[in-house]
């Protein structure tokens, strides 16, 4: 791992990130950093700009203004594949697996940037290509094992149950060998038990794989259960940041989620 001189403890630093769609400001000068080896959650009401923020980090959108530095490299406006190659892996809010490929193939596609075979040596199938193919197949199986999908390696991904598809998305993202893993609403549509399992899984990613995780999440049990830090976006602005406990009590957060009236109400009842 490359320690950077600038911000040794931070994997990712975003400065004054801004995104406008026409006149609409989706993300308004948000500064954000992700410390190494932590699980950071990004929460906020619907339409707060969380996914837009993610899409800027992964290069799907180009920021209108601001700067993104990942492991000391300025990645602002770089294309998605280059950012993935540098070490940011991601999953999608609405599952975007390669539906007609098997689970194993999906993970192997994820390893694209870490493989070197090209057109010519693939046709000749040189010993190098053979070795690489074998090694990446083995690594993909390991990742499927890790995500509990090993027995379904040869299944076409569209036929997997919903929870497995979510996990396969994570396995595929892990195939890119990320330093930072971005999870976009990973537990959406999961039942409480699946969510709890997933929470444990994210802790394992942090503790066993030494990964840094940044996730958008709506399920507060997941957020509170695993996050080291929570940041809250509302109307494209960061309104609060801190430990789960701090954020839970933060006035503006309650206001954003429940409205001003609720805050007044809580004050009146002496809850806040």
């Amino acid at each position: 791992m490359t320690e950077t001189t600038e911000n040794g403890n931070y994997v990712l630093v975003a400065e004054d990130l801004r995104k406008e769609f026409g006149g609409l400001v989706a993300v308004n000068n948000v500064s954000f950093d992700v410390p190494r080896g932590k699980v950071i959650s990004l929460i906020g009401p619907n339409g707060a700009g969380k996914t837009t923020f993610f899409n800027m980090l992964t290069g799907v959108y180009k920021p209108t203004a601001g700067r993104i530095v990942f492991l000391g490299t300025d990645v602002t406006g770089k294309p998605p594949h280059a950012i993935t190659a540098l070490g940011i892996g991601r999953t999608f809010q609405n599952i975007r697996l390669f539906q007609n490929m098997t689970a194993l193939e999906n993970v192997m596609v994820g390893m694209h940037a870490r493989m070197k075979a090209n057109l010519f040596n693939s046709i000749l199938r040189t010993p190098f290509v053979n070795r690489e193919e074998k090694a990446s197949r083995a690594r993909a199986m390991e990742l499927l094992e890790f995500t509990g999908l090993a027995r379904k390696a040869q299944e076409v991904s569209r036929n997997l149950p919903y929870g497995d598809q979510r996990r396969l998305e994570v396995a595929r993202a892990l195939g890119t060998e990320p330093q930072l893993l971005l999870l976009d609403e990973p537990t959406a549509g999961m039942n409480p038990q699946e969510s709890a399992e997933f929470t444990a899984f994210v802790s394992r990613l942090r503790d066993e794989e030494k990964l840094t995780v940044l996730m958008i999440e709506h399920d507060m049990r997941v957020v509170m259960g695993v996050s080291d830090r929570v940041s809250v976006l509302d109307y494209g602005e960061k309104i609060a940041e801190g430990t789960p406990k701090e954020v839970q009590k933060h006035e503006r957060v309650i206001e954003a989620y429940l409205g001003k009236a609720a805050v007044e109400d809580m004050k009146n009842r002496g809850l806040s």
Binding site: V60, F98, Q99, L124, G175
Partner: protein, 517 residues
């Protein structure tokens, strides 16, 4: 890579006439179904017998073949097959032999069969010039295609396999493939003809006098060069156009497919400089011949002939070798190389990336696949094989004319890919061979058959069927797209996509999508 069957989506409701019909049919007891089927087939055979005897026999034979195939294997199936071969052995021995070979191949147990089948197919293809004159006459289609048609079929199958990389694997709808065909053909023409008389450059060319002006490079090198230049040209076209998706890409490639023949047509005065690049509408002809040169020719005692056009007096197996046969075998070799490369690419890092892009560009990019570069590689590979095929076919015809490169050729090749089964090499080969055959001989033969055998009372039609070629291909494609979008021999993956759609709504910033390369 083996993968389990894609599960059939449980057809929850039986909506529509077709499904109701199917359900009603399935509700009948099996004996009734067999009786009705056999009855219908017999009636059809008898009806056709009165139109044309051989057609009646043909329908009966196909029906018999199907039912024998469904018999319980051991005593009955073998007995049926032996009986069928015995029936045909005397009147049409070649058909009996063909059946025997097919039956034999299908008795080989499965894992081995997939290896035996291609070997037998290749052997049959290579031996074709020897047994073609002895082949039986088919109902409707008449005599089997001659060797020149065989070369045509092989060249077009090769282009279809090339286009399959672009359309079938990477999902890039290319309506301008003819541009690659033309580039290959003109490359061969420039470097192996009298087109540039001011330069005299000889390099291994055969069958020409030593002082002949013009550039004369050996065709073997030109096949490669045609591929490489075309691939380069494909990259040039691809860089600006491959940023587009779907329909937009199709339109732009269509444009390039139109532009190139126009350039060929008008470049007898290249950009107004007076330089004669393509000889305009008159085309470039003749081209040098192919051959292995006198050294190899003498060394191998003519097995590898010095010059394809002056080869031939040897007789093997009762067949005097013609120069067309040599082109035919060369075309088989080229097609085999194409198919080989195509297979190797399919199951490689790049092949996976192509399929990923086809299924979901956004996710593919997020997985570290550089979209532009990967698509351009697909385009370049497809272009390469188109170029080689074009160069070879130009040499075979010893000519290249701008009129050969109309838009309809692009559509024709695309039809081959669609008919056969996008993404499946075997399907594309079968579809390509069939359509190319129809185009070259099949339609004309069919027309002759119709005119000879069909009449309404005293009215005898006098159809010129090849005139309706485009309409007929159109109908074929419509039928395929409506009823079997995955083609004759589909790839499983593609079949699933076509029936259930892919997840590929664009998520890109329009201002940004171009920034990668």
């Amino acid at each position: 890579m083996t993968q389990p069957d894609i599960q059939e989506e449980g057809a929850a409701e039986q909506i529509g006439f077709r499904n109701q019909l199917r359900a009603g049919w399935k509700a009948l007891p099996i004996a009734q179904r067999i009786a009705i089927s056999v009855g219908l087939e017999l009636a059809l055979a008898i009806l056709f017998f009165f139109v044309d005897h051989s057609l009646g026999y043909g329908v009966a034979a196909v029906s018999a073949l199907y039912w024998i195939h469904r018999l319980p294997p051991l005593p009955w199936k073998v007995a049926g097959q032996v009986a069928l071969i015995a029936i045909f052995a005397y009147p049409v021995p070649t058909l009996a032999a063909g059946l025997a070979i097919i039956f034999a191949v299908f008795w080989v147990p499965q894992p081995l069969r997939s290896r035996v089948l291609p070997v037998v197919a290749i052997l049959l293809a290579v031996m074709y010039p020897f047994y073609q004159p002895k082949m039986f006459v088919m109902p409707i289609f008449g005599v089997w295609p001659d060797i020149a048609t065989g070369v045509y079929m092989l060249v077009f199958v090769m282009m279809a396999v090339g286009l399959n990389i672009v359309v079938g694997y990477a999902g890039l709808l290319d309506l301008g493939y003819v541009a690659f065909y033309a580039t290959g053909a003109y490359t061969a023409a420039w470097f192996a003809s009298l087109q540039f008389p001011k330069t005299t450059f000889h390099m291994g060319a055969v069958g020409i006098t030593p002082n002949l002006p013009g550039i004369h490079v050996t065709i073997w090198l030109l096949l490669l060069l045609g591929g490489v230049i075309t691939a380069f040209f494909g990259i040039m076209i691809g860089l600006p156009t491959l940023r587009l998706r779907g329909d937009y890409l199709a339109i732009v490639t269509l444009g390039f497919g139109e532009i190139l023949p126009q350039i060929a047509r008008n470049s007898d005065n290249f950009l107004g400089t007076g330089f004669n690049l393509t000889n305009g509408p008159n085309g470039i002809t003749p081209l040098d011949s192919m051959g292995f040169g006198s050294h190899i020719g003498n060394f191998t005692h003519g097995v590898l002939p010095a010059n394809y056009l002056q080869c031939c007096n040897a007789t093997y197996l009762g067949h005097q070798i013609q120069s067309t046969d040599l082109f035919f075998w060369t075309a088989i070799a080229l097609l085999l190389v194409t198919v080989f490369c195509s297979f190797r690419l399919q199951f490689s890092r790049l092949g996976r990336a192509w399929i990923a892009i086809r299924e979901d560009e956004t996710a593919a990019a997020a997985m570290g696949i550089p979209l532009m570069r990967t698509k351009t590689w697909a385009y370049a590979s497809g272009a390469f094989f188109g170029g080689v095929a074009g160069a070879f076919y130009a040499v075979f015809k010893s000519a290249t004319f701008p009129g050969d490169f109309f838009f309809n050729i692009s559509v024709f090749i695309l039809c081959m890919v669609i008919l056969g089964g996008m993404g499946n090499i075997w399907g594309v080969i079968v579809g390509g061979a069939f359509l190319a055959y129809l185009n070259q001989e099949g339609l004309a033969n069919t027309g002759a058959w119709i005119n000879a055998n069909i009449h309404f009372g005293s009215h005898h039609p006098n159809l010129d069927v090849p005139l309706y070629a485009s309409g007929i291909y159109g109908v074929i494609i419509l039928v395929v797209v409506l009823f079997r979008p995955e083609g004759m021999i589909p790839s499983r993956r593609r079949a699933a996509e076509l029936h259930e759609g892919v997840h590929d709504d664009p998520l890109y910033d329009t201002q940004h999508a171009g920034a990668e390369a």
